[in-house]
């Protein structure tokens, strides 16, 4: 991937759109670099998280405890400034002081929906009910072990994720436009859990299954944990509004060629025809994938979506949306088999 150190200093480009795209790419890179300073050995996960954030999606991590999920979520949350100085220009943000940069909910079987969303509380001073904002009112929310709580709480959480609002006692409270959830589930310890069904999994843009970080990175974590503990909570490097602006710019400026779209459709059709797949992916998953592809391209400094982006994102976007035939487990193989031929056609199309 080309390093774009010189991007900020900018070249003498006349097109305004291009200048703003350069700025948007700069925002993503600043965010990435800041998080990289806090989370070591998880570069790919950081990139995917930033892509999901930029594409306005949420991430489900299948991971084991102590692998740095909280550190990641916290680092992202803290790298995003509240944007207080811009608040005056933003009339839709009167509730902004309820919004925390980062929250974490540990899901347990006895959790109640109000523990997530918040609840009206009787204030004896004003003799009235006041809504007490729950932990979902945050920029970045870490929903730990989401499969361990009851379906009722899960549905409250998923409404928040899907609609960007919570409804309590018929009153609807909007969440921040930046609302970004990193949910986790333990892939092994399944006793007493309520596994998320496929339609609910559909709310997550990515499902990322991760391996342990490599030896060198693990050593580095041990070497630098003291510094990072002391320096945590560094100054925000990007503001909320900058990210929202970057979202808009990337959506507008990063081109998706027709060949890319046909590749996506061809891969989907291949998957649906595959005997090993019981139910293929939805059309919506492809629609959701487009902004993610644009974000991935921008993060790599490109203004067009390329085969690389598909290779990176498609397994993460489609992996949890496919229902495999009973007895078939090798998802990676299935995806690989069905991607190769459309990708080859895409590569050839550029010379045609």
């Amino acid at each position: 991937m080309p390093e774009l150190a010189s991007l900020e200093t900018g070249s003498a480009n006349s097109a305004g759109g291009e200048a703003s795209l350069t700025a948007a790419i700069g925002v993503l890179h600043r965010l990435r670099d800041a998080v990289r300073g806090q989370v070591i050995g998880r570069d790919e996960m950081i990139e995917l998280a930033i892509i999901a954030l930029t594409a306005d999606g949420h991430v489900l991590l299948e991971d084991f405890p102590g692998s740095g999920k909280t550190t990641l979520a916290k680092a992202i949350g803290e790298a995003i400034g509240d944007g207080q100085h811009e608040k005056d220009n933003d009339p839709g943000r009167e509730a902004a002081h309820f919004i925390a940069p980062f929250r974490r909910i540990q899901f347990t079987p006895d959790l109640l929906p109000s523990d997530v969303t918040g609840a009206p509380i009787f204030d004896s001073a004003s003799n009235a009910f006041h809504f007490r904002h729950g932990p979902v009112f945050a920029h970045v929310l870490l929903a730990d072990e989401i499969n361990r709580t009851s379906p009722k709480v899960q549905s409250a959480m998923l409404e928040a994720m899907g609609e960007k609002q919570v409804t309590v006692d018929n009153a609807t409270y909007p969440l921040d436009a930046l609302f970004f959830v990193i949910a986790t589930q333990n892939p092994l310890d399944l006793v007493g859990t309520y596994p998320l069904p496929v339609p609910q999994l559909d709310r997550f843009l990515f499902k990322i299954t991760m391996a342990h970080i490599d030896r060198q990175a693990e050593l580095e974590v041990l070497d630098t944990w003291r510094d990072r503990r002391d320096n945590s909570g560094g100054a925000p490097v990007v503001s909320r509004n900058e990210i929202l602006a970057a979202r808009a710019t990337i959506d507008r400026e990063v081109a998706i060629a027709d060949a890319i779209k046909s590749t996506l459709v061809d891969i989907s059709r291949n998957l649906r025809a595959d005997e090993r797949v019981l139910q293929g992916n939805s059309t919506r998953s492809l629609v959701l994938m487009l902004p993610a592809l644009q974000a991935a391209a921008a993060l790599r400094g490109r203004d067009f979506v390329s085969a690389e982006d598909i290779e990176l994102l498609l397994p993460r976007v489609l992996g949890h949306r496919l229902e495999l035939t009973p007895g078939v487990a090798d998802l990676g193989r299935i995806l690989h088999d069905n991607m190769r031929e459309p990708l080859e056609r895409l590569a050839k199309s550029t010379l045609a």
Partner: protein
């Protein structure tokens, strides 16, 4: 729902898939059946061959169908072998019962019973053999070797007949090849190589064993070079046909023409030469004699080729020369024959008595080693005319006559000769021919023809034979006769060459001389008639000296040697469906040259067009040119690999490709707008520069040899994608 339905439909194999699964099995069945058919051809009748093919195909298909049968897989290999042997034996027993009992023969007719028995025998045999082989081949890779060996042996057995010169077998192949001017041996060898290669390829494909494709390529190369060798140098000729076999005229047996135990009738059918008669001639004695030389001078141990200038003046010293002395006379007739040897042969020979040998044009150097015209004066006189003739040439000096009368210092020869001739009627008692005939008759009656005898290492093998068990072969009879004739004052010598039964000619004009026909015989000189062959023919023989009639081969070789209109007509008759090989070859070569030229043209075009094209097409053309150069040095994108991943992969060799790829993709996928990645150092997109940089990096990173190959390859651009 529709997806599911289509998925369920796809679970059943489509016709193409079914073909893909069964085609290798069918091809293998065809190959093995073909080789079994070839093997069975010489062992059974047509019914048996058909049954063998049927059994083979059935075994192949059944083995394929029950490939995954758990019962079959659990069975021990030993039991499978035993079952196969039992089945084969059952077939033999059943066939014996059918053919042996009169029941079936009575119900139908004897010939039907015989065919039925053959069919059952071969069906069981081939089913058992191929079935066991297939099951073993499916189990282990060693089993596959047995299979390849069987196929190879099927062709080798047929080819081994060729080794003895039976170039016309099998007939359908021989005719096909000969009518097109090809050597049948090469055709059969090519077929065999092709079958073995195909079978090896099938084993490679089906069993998915880790044999490397280039192992197979090497194997193919070996087979091809074998065919090429045979095409250029012919088949290796067995050395033993060089000598005259039974006459002992070979280098190592020079001192001792009697070599026991070395003679056998194994290669008796091997053709040695073919003679074409230009004149009408039918021998009176029932055999054609071709004289090659004679043992006439006593060397202290036995008779040998003469070194005396006065002796054997009728023999021709070298081809092209003439006999120094000829005896014409009323009893002899000039006959010309053309002779072509099929194996290397020491000295030329001619029909008795050759007077001149003249080299003749060789119509087929691949087939005939040497060809010559032999002009002979053949004897036509009645043997009775020889009665009363004086033996020996009055013109001989005394010392020559003396030489022709020398024999071992053994009184028994004279005693026996006088005893035999003593029984002649008084009026013939002193007549040389009558005496010679009496000696011949004695040997005819009492001698036993055999190739296994123990006389060779006796001091005088002829004495050991004559005064021993009288068991020996032509050499013994010839020497013994000659010594006896000499002992009673008749000048005689041992003639060597070939003697072919007159019946072998079968009415045609050509005569096939085979190894078995090598011969030696006693000859007597009669004044006015020259050397006359008086050949003993023992009535008892321990050796089967008969040969199968080789009429087709005889006629075929004769036609080839004659090179005359008949053969040309035969070729012309076949020309309707013959292929003009020269034209076909030239067409192929031209096509190949045109293809190569077109390849170079496209290659150069794709390499140079970016320099001439305008900017809109540059991103495509420049990138393609770079890909072409990489493909030429063997670096190409893998199937399904993205362009970026490919650029990263070759980053070590050509880092500039990454920039070129990024620029190319920005245009191809990015709506023709220079992307941020292409700003800065790449602003304005210096296509020419990027292209050249990639080229320079490839040059710097590859060896000169590889670059030379890359330059020469006309189709390197086909690999760029």
């Amino acid at each position: 729902m529709q997806d599911k339905a289509s998925a369920r439909i796809r679970a059943h194999p489509r016709p193409a898939e079914r073909l893909e699964r069964t085609a290798p099995a069918l091809a293998r069945a065809a190959i093995i059946a073909g080789s079994l058919w070839l093997l069975s051809l010489s062992l059974t009748v047509a019914t048996g061959s058909i049954a063998a093919v049927a059994g083979c195909v059935a075994a192949c298909l059944l083995a394929k169908l029950h490939e995954n049968n758990p019962l079959l897989r659990q069975l021990r290999a030993v039991f499978i072998m035993l079952a196969a042997v039992a089945l084969a034996m059952l077939g033999v027993i059943l066939a014996g019962w059918i053919a042996g009992r009169g029941l079936v023969a009575a119900l139908f007719e004897p010939i039907a019973a015989f065919h039925l028995a053959e069919a059952i025998k071969w069906l069981c045999f081939s089913f058992a053999l191929v079935g066991a082989m297939r099951i073993l081949a499916q189990r282990s890779s060693v089993g596959g070797i047995v299979e390849v060996l069987l196929v190879a042996s099927g062709f080798t057995v047929v080819l081994s007949a060729h080794r003895n010169g039976m170039i016309n077998r099998p007939f359908f192949l021989g005719d096909f090849a000969l009518s097109r001017g090809l050597d049948p041996a090469t055709v059969l060898l090519a077929l065999g190589c092709g079958a073995v290669l195909l079978l090896a390829a099938l084993l490679l494909v089906e069993d998915n064993r880790r044999r490397l494709p280039y192992h197979f390529a090497l194997f193919a190369l070996l087979c091809l070079s074998l065919v090429g060798y045979v095409r250029s140098f012919g088949l290796p000729t067995p050395q033993m046909t060089d000598d005259l076999g039974l006459t002992g005229n070979s280098a190592q047996a020079r001192e001792n023409p009697f070599h026991d135990g070395e003679n056998n009738t194994e290669n008796k059918q091997a053709p040695v030469a073919v003679a074409v008669f230009r004149d009408d001639y039918e021998p009176a004695g029932g055999a054609y004699y071709f004289r090659e030389g004679a043992y006439s001078q006593w060397n202290g141990y036995m008779l040998d080729f003469t070194s005396h200038p006065g002796m054997d003046r009728d023999l021709i010293p070298a081809p092209g020369a003439q006999a120094r002395e000829t005896v014409g006379g009323a009893g002899r007739k000039p006959v010309t024959t053309t002779i072509g040897t099929l194996v290397p042969h020491r000295s030329p020979f001619g029909l008795d008595t050759p007077v001149a040998l003249a080299p003749a044009p060789n119509p087929n150097p691949l087939r005939f080693k040497r060809t010559w015209d032999a002009h002979s004066l053949v004897p036509q006189f009645d043997l009775n005319a020889l009665l009363g003739m004086a033996a020996g040439n009055p013109a001989w000096p005394a010392e020559v006559r003396e030489e022709y009368l020398r024999l071992p210092d053994d009184p028994r020869y004279g005693e026996l000769a006088r005893e035999i001739t003593g029984g002649l009627r008084p009026q013939y008692a002193a007549d040389p021919f009558a005496q010679a005939w009496a000696i011949k008759a004695h040997l005819d009656r009492n001698g036993i023809y055999s190739l296994a005898n123990e006389h060779a290492y006796a001091e005088d093998p002829a004495a050991s034979f004559l005064f021993g068990d009288l068991t020996g072969y032509c050499m013994h009879f010839a020497f013994a006769s000659t010594y006896m004739l000499r002992s009673i004052g008749i000048p005689a010598r041992v003639g060597i060459g070939y003697s072919v039964p007159a019946a072998n000619r079968a009415g045609g004009s050509s005569l096939l001389i085979q190894a078995i026909h090598g011969h030696a015989w006693p000859e007597i000189y009669f004044a006015g008639h020259g050397w006359v062959i008086v050949d003993p023919a023992p009535q008892q023989t321990l050796v089967d000296m008969t040969t199968d009639p080789q009429n087709e081969l005889q006629q075929l070789l004769g036609d080839m040697l004659r090179g005359d209109a008949a053969f040309e007509e035969f070729l012309a008759e076949q020309a309707g469906f013959a292929i003009d090989w020269r034209l076909a070859r030239n067409a192929m070569l031209s096509l190949l040259a045109a293809l190569v030229l077109a390849g170079y043209a496209v290659k150069l075009y794709r390499l140079w067009i970016p320099a001439l094209a305008g900017r809109p097409a540059q991103h495509r053309l420049s990138y393609r040119a770079a890909l072409d150069r990489l493909a030429a040095v063997g670096i190409r994108r893998r199937f399904g690999e993205s362009r970026e991943a490919f650029a990263r992969r070759v980053g070590a060799l050509a880092p500039a490709l990454q920039a070129l790829t990024a620029a190319h993709l920005a245009h191809a996928l990015g709506g023709h707008r220079p992307g941020p990645a292409n700003t800065g150092s790449l602003a304005g997109e210096d296509w020419r520069g990027m292209r050249r940089k990639v080229g320079a990096e490839i040059r710097a990173g590859t060896s000169a040899g590889k670059r030379l190959l890359a330059m020469l390859d006309p189709f390197s651009w086909l690999r760029a994608k």
